[in-house]
C-alpha cells in the first residue's frame, strides 16, 4: 500500500508545466502506481482549464487563423513512447556505478539548464546513504524494496519530496535491494567529514 504521495503544491506545479522534466519523470513513476494521485493531477488540470476560461483574451496576429488552417492536413511527427519507469528495475537503461559500499547510482539524465538531474539509486539492505540536506527540490519514488529515512518507512510506489527544510539519513530496509528513481535540483549538502569526502564520489 502506498502511504507517501506528492504534495498538492507539487502536483499543481506539475499540472502547470512548471517543474523541470526530471521531477515530472519521478512523479510519473508514482502515478503509474497511484490512481488517487493521477485523479488529483486530472483535477489540477481542470483547475488549469478553469483559470484558462477566466484568462482575458489578447489579439492573435493578423492571419493567424489562416496560417493554422493551412496546416491542418499536415501529417503528425512521430513521438517515441516513454518507457514506464518501473521497467528500469528489470531493464536498466544504463550502467550501475558503485559509489560507496552497498550503494550504486545510475545517471538517467545529466544536470540540465535548470540545474536538475535524474538518477537511479540502488542501496543494499541495511546500507545507508549519507545524512544530507538540500539546497533545492528533491523528489524520489521507490521502485523496489524499501527504506527508512529515520522518521518513516518508504516502500515501492511511495513518493518523497524535500525542499530546503529537510535533513534526513535514509537507510535501506532488509529484503531486496532498494531501488529508487530520483531527481535533484541544485546540490545536496552532505553533513560531516564523511559527507564532504563522499560528495565528490556521488557527484551531487
Amino acid at each position: 500500500m502506498i502511504r507517501h504521495h506528492p504534495s498538492p503544491t507539487l502536483l499543481l506545479r506539475c499540472a502547470a508545466g512548471q517543474l523541470p522534466a526530471a521531477h515530472d519523470a519521478v512523479i510519473e513513476a508514482h502515478l503509474a502506481r497511484c490512481p488517487n494521485c493521477r485523479a488529483a493531477l486530472v483535477d489540477a488540470m481542470a483547475v488549469g482549464g478553469a483559470l484558462l476560461d477566466q484568462t482575458p483574451k489578447v489579439a492573435m496576429a493578423a492571419g493567424a487563423l489562416d496560417t493554422v488552417l493551412a496546416q491542418l492536413d499536415r501529417p503528425l511527427p512521430p513521438v517515441a513512447p516513454l518507457k514506464p519507469a518501473m521497467d528500469f528495475v528489470t531493464h536498466p537503461p544504463g550502467r550501475w556505478r558503485r559509489v560507496a559500499p552497498g550503494v550504486a547510482t545510475m545517471t538517467l539524465a545529466p544536470r540540465d539548464a535548470t540545474g536538475t538531474r535524474l538518477d537511479m539509486l540502488r542501496v543494499a539492505p541495511g546500507s545507508g546513504l549519507l545524512s544530507h540536506g538540500h539546497h533545492g527540490l528533491e523528489t524520489l519514488c521507490v521502485l523496489q524494496g524499501a527504506f527508512d529515512d529515520g522518521i518513516e518507512r518508504f516502500a515501492a510506489g511511495d513518493f518523497a519530496e524535500a525542499d530546503d527544510a529537510l535533513d534526513h539519513r535514509p537507510v535501506a530496509l532488509p529484503g531486496e535491494a532498494c531501488v529508487c528513481i530520483f531527481a535533484t535540483t541544485g546540490y545536496l549538502k552532505p553533513h560531516g567529514v564523511l559527507g564532504r569526502l563522499v560528495r565528490p564520489l556521488l557527484g551531487m
Binding site: Q18, P20, A21, V42, L52, A64, G136, A165
Partner: protein, 188 residues
C-alpha cells in the same frame, strides 16, 4: 431551456472536430481559445511573438488530437489546458527532453451521451463557483503555482512568505476545489 453554457458548447465543438473533422467547429474553437492561450503564455513569461507561435501550434495540436477528447473524463477547458500545458513545456523546457506526462486516460469507446455533457457542465460550473469563492490569499497562491516560472524554493519568496505557508494555502485551495469537482460522485 436556456442556451447551452460555454463548456457544453466547447465540448460539442471538440467532439465535432474529433469525430467529423468539422472545420467550422475548429474555427469556433480557435476564436474562443487561441487568444486565451496566447494570453496565458504571456502571463507565464513567454514573449509575445513566441506566445503567438505556441498558441497557433497548440490549436494545431487540438485539431490533431481532438479524437482523444472524452467529455466523461475532462471538461473541454481542462482538455484544452492539457494541450496548452504541453506546448508551454516544449516552449520553455531547456535540458532534458522527454514526452510530457500523459495525464488523461484514453477515451471510452462509447460515444458521449447528453447526460455526460450535462455532468461535465455541472462540474465545470461548480469548479468556477468554488474558484471565485477562494479567499484572496489562496487565489494568489494558486495563480503563483500556475503562472510563475521560478524554482520550487523561490515560490515563497515571490509572495514574501515562507514556502510552507504557500504550500499550506495551496493544500487548502485544492481541497476545496477538488471537493467541488467531486460533489456529483456523492449524490445518488
Amino acid at each position: 431551456m436556456s442556451l447551452p453554457s460555454p463548456d457544453t458548447r466547447h465540448a460539442a465543438w471538440l467532439l465535432a472536430v474529433g469525430t467529423e473533422r468539422d472545420r467550422a467547429a475548429f474555427v469556433a474553437l480557435f476564436h474562443e481559445f487561441a487568444p486565451r492561450m496566447k494570453a496565458w503564455l504571456m502571463r507565464a513569461g513567454v514573449p509575445a511573438e513566441a506566445a503567438e507561435d505556441a498558441a497557433q501550434e497548440a490549436m494545431l495540436a487540438v485539431w490533431q488530437k481532438a479524437a482523444q477528447f472524452d467529455p466523461a473524463r475532462a471538461t473541454a477547458s481542462a482538455w484544452m489546458f492539457t494541450i496548452l500545458r504541453n506546448r508551454y513545456i516544449d516552449q520553455t523546457r531547456r535540458g532534458l527532453r522527454r514526452p510530457p506526462i500523459d495525464v488523461l486516460p484514453p477515451p471510452d469507446s462509447e460515444p458521449a451521451s447528453q447526460d455526460t455533457l450535462l455532468l461535465a457542465e455541472e462540474r465545470s460550473a461548480r469548479l468556477h463557483t468554488a474558484l471565485s469563492a477562494l479567499p484572496n490569499d489562496q487565489r494568489a497562491a494558486l495563480e503563483l503555482a500556475f503562472f510563475k516560472s521560478c524554482s520550487h524554493s523561490e515560490m515563497g519568496k515571490v509572495l514574501g512568505l515562507p514556502l510552507g505557508t504557500v504550500k499550506s494555502r495551496l493544500r487548502l485551495a485544492m481541497a476545496k476545489l477538488r471537493s467541488a469537482l467531486a460533489e456529483d460522485d456523492m449524490t445518488p
